[in-house]
């Protein structure tokens, strides 16, 4: 049996059972031995994609990849080596990579964007299957989103007629756990346009300049799918206010890159709507709030009574319960966030389990357990709302935060926020 025959046989076998990673690994190693480095690397990469690359291969594959100019793959191997605690060779590979990156002049472009190497995640409507109906209450917010995001995609003719274009930037902000991320997902379900999700985890890279490159790539992917919505959740982690940054982290360069993308320098952002979300608007770089960038802000307040009822309902779904007065509970929990309410239910479940353990037979969750849970419950949004009041009082340029100020200025609210 010649080497060529063996390779052919292996190839055929792998094609037959593409998920057999051990087999693919043997193929990759054989290809390497036969000197077909390019093909070998492709196979190694697929094994790596499947999370099946053995740690002691990481350095060898990484080095080969670096020499073959496939720096992205090399960087991933280096990461694997680091994460799995490989000591010998890690530093050498890192030096090699750094040198190659420096050689290539600009660190910006590492590798042509590979088709299955996209930075953004496309949220498929079917898999997400969420619409505004899944978000309790918050009617004003839904309406604002409908007008600014959904409608321009559904009725471009109407917008054209009035000389408005779809696209631009909208920033959702509000206290933690109150449905910003949920609303964004529901928006994906509502608007029918492609909805791309770009998270800090997908952007952040261990090499100088690479994070910005990936951010750029994410925007490019979005522009290629326009008209579409690009969702940047927790945008403060991408565009943290420069003033607070300690040291020269990836932060500043990333903010600059994001500004460039939003301003569409050397690109065309037509039909691209950038939807951001954050619970710390005061930590978001001021430059992001200039005209043409995120010039529309939407406040997502703590859930109102109806929304609270809905959250409680969802939290209790598929759990045995009797005689719990959800309406009364919703009334009793002003300013509780969705997450706070879920925590109440979790504690009630704990109480029911405790009781089942001591009594020896299973009991449903009852109002009694809820009462136990409510004893230690408290609304976590109040601190946030106080900070928001401080911020909007002293940083309300151009009336940007008028809506929140009106909300915070209500009699009820002032009473709740009193210390």
């Amino acid at each position: 049996m010649t080497d060529g025959d063996r390779l052919e046989g292996l190839r055929a076998a792998v094609e037959l059972s593409p998920d057999n990673h051990a087999l693919r690994l043997v193929l990759a190693e054989s290809l390497r031995e036969a000197g077909e480095t390019g093909d070998a690397l492709t196979e190694f990469e697929r094994v790596l994609d499947a999370g099946a690359l053995p740690r002691d291969e990481a350095i060898q594959v990484g080095t080969d990849a670096a020499h073959a100019g496939r720096l992205q793959l090399a960087a991933r191997c280096l990461e694997l080596a680091r994460n799995s605690g490989v000591i010998g060779g890690t530093a050498g590979l890192e030096d090699l990579l750094t040198a190659l990156l420096a050689d290539s002049g600009a660190v910006r472009r590492i590798d042509g964007p590979e088709p299955d190497d996209s930075v953004t995640r496309r949220v498929s409507v079917a898999e997400e299957a969420r619409t505004f109906a899944d978000v309790g209450g918050l009617d004003d917010v839904k309406q604002a989103i409908h007008r600014t995001i959904v409608l321009p995609y559904q009725r471009p003719d109407l917008f054209e007629h009035y000389g408005r274009r779809a696209g631009g930037g909208v920033l959702l902000f509000g206290p933690p756990g109150c449905g910003k991320t949920l609303l964004a997902r529901a928006t994906a379900g509502e608007c029918g346009a492609p909805f791309l999700n770009l998270r800090i985890e997908d952007v952040l890279a261990p090499y100088f300049g690479v994070s910005e490159q990936r951010l750029h790539q994410g925007f490019d992917e979005a522009r290629a799918s326009a008209p579409c919505v690009l969702f940047l959740d927790e945008i403060d982690t991408l565009a943290y206010a420069r003033r607070n940054q300690r040291g020269a982290g990836v932060g500043r360069a990333m903010v600059d890159q994001l500004l460039q993308e939003l301003d569409a320098i050397g690109a065309d952002n037509r039909g691209l709507l950038v939807l951001g979300a954050t619970n710390v608007p005061w930590d978001v770089d001021d430059a992001l709030q200039r005209p043409g960038r995120f010039d529309r802000v939407v406040f997502v307040p703590p859930p109102d009574t109806e929304a609270r009822r809905r959250v409680l309902e969802i939290a209790l779904r598929d759990r045995p319960s009797v005689g719990i007065d959800l309406d009364a509970l919703a009334e009793r929990t002003p300013m509780f966030s969705g997450a706070d309410l879920c925590a109440v239910i979790e504690r009630a479940v704990d109480a029911a389990i405790d009781e089942a353990l001591t009594s020896g037979h299973e009991v449903p969750i009852t109002q009694r357990h809820i009462e136990v849970a409510m004893r230690s419950a408290r609304a976590t949004t109040l601190d946030w709302l106080r900070t928001a009041r401080n911020y909007t009082e002293f940083a309300n340029e151009g009336g940007r935060y008028d809506e929140v100020r009106a909300y915070l200025d209500q009699r009820e609210m002032r009473k709740l926020l009193r210390r």
Binding site: R82, T237, R243, N244, Y391, F394
Partner: protein, 281 residues
């Protein structure tokens, strides 16, 4: 991208809770590394879990006794906990490896200031300034020292230097606001404190001071300003002396009018004061 790197980033962007959550996902080997312990220590420090931060720093130092960053972290944390002896020991250990490091010296001066040793803190800061004349941290320490010494002119001058270097320094604006408040310059206090709140709105006390500076400028609050300006005790003494003096001189009518006016001013001041308190709540 590794959890360690993501955690470091999250810590950098003011999300220590998220950084902790990310660090929890590390495998046992990596979680025990000096790097991870240091990050976790800082994350705990920033969430106010000082005991946990001390624990992490000490655990890291067991593995790497010569890690300067860990000694530094330990010193900051112990200072906040109020264990100044431990804080001093930690920073001296760090200085044993890098005696000329301006940041380390600055931290040493903070320990000394906390302990009231202002003289010595000044000498340490002079050394820090000599080794890095451009360090903002050293400048911030010098401002605090000047303020603690009661040298407001020096504190103000240095703060202007700080702001020239970094126009968005929260500490800088806050210091100028406090100094303005102390000398009764309400408009400046309002602007400076307001800017400090805009830049970092989480501190309710600063926001309340800014609001007070704003409200007190209204005409209605003049008696409060008056007492603030001249001191309540002194004004009382002067007023009583004047009234008694007039009476002794036989000017009973004048003394009566003055007494009545005085009572009105006091009542007004009391009403304005309680209204201010109500408005701030």
């Amino acid at each position: 991208m590794s959890s360690l790197q993501l955690a470091a980033h999250l810590l950098n962007v003011g999300r220590p809770e998220d950084a902790l959550r990310e660090l929890q996902r590390l495998g046992p080997d990596e979680a025990g590394s000096v790097n991870a312990l240091c990050l976790r220590g800082y994350a705990h420090l920033n969430t106010g879990s000082l005991d946990a931060a001390v624990h992490d720093a000490r655990a890291g130092l067991q593995a790497a006794p010569d890690d300067i960053e860990l000694h530094y972290l330990l010193s900051i944390t112990e200072t906040q906990r109020g264990d100044l002896a431990a804080a001093e020991a930690a920073i001296l250990a760090a200085l044993g490896y890098a005696a000329d490091d301006a940041e380390l010296l600055a931290q040493y001066s903070r320990v000394l200031m906390r302990g009231g040793q202002l003289e010595k803190a000044g000498r340490v800061l002079a050394a820090a300034g000599a080794s890095d004349p451009r360090s903002q941290e050293v400048l911030r320490c010098r401002i605090d020292l000047a303020y603690l010494r009661g040298d407001t002119a020096e504190a103000e001058g240095l703060t202007h230097l700080l702001l020239a270097d970094d126009a968005e320094s929260v500490r800088g604006h806050q210091m100028l606001g406090v100094l303005a408040l102390e000398r009764g310059d309400l408009p400046v206090a309002e602007t400076r404190l307001g800017e400090a709140v805009r830049l970092d709105p989480v501190h309710d006390e600063v926001a309340d001071s800014a609001r007070a500076a704003q409200i007190l400028q209204r005409p209605y609050y003049w008696p409060v300003r008056f007492f603030d300006r001249f001191g309540a005790a002194q004004t009382w003494v002067v007023a009583i002396c004047l009234i008694l003096g007039l009476r002794a001189a036989g000017l009973t009518v004048a003394a009566g009018i003055l007494g009545l006016t005085w009572m009105i001013v006091c009542a007004w001041s009391w009403a304005a004061g309680s209204r201010l308190e109500h408005q701030l709540r």
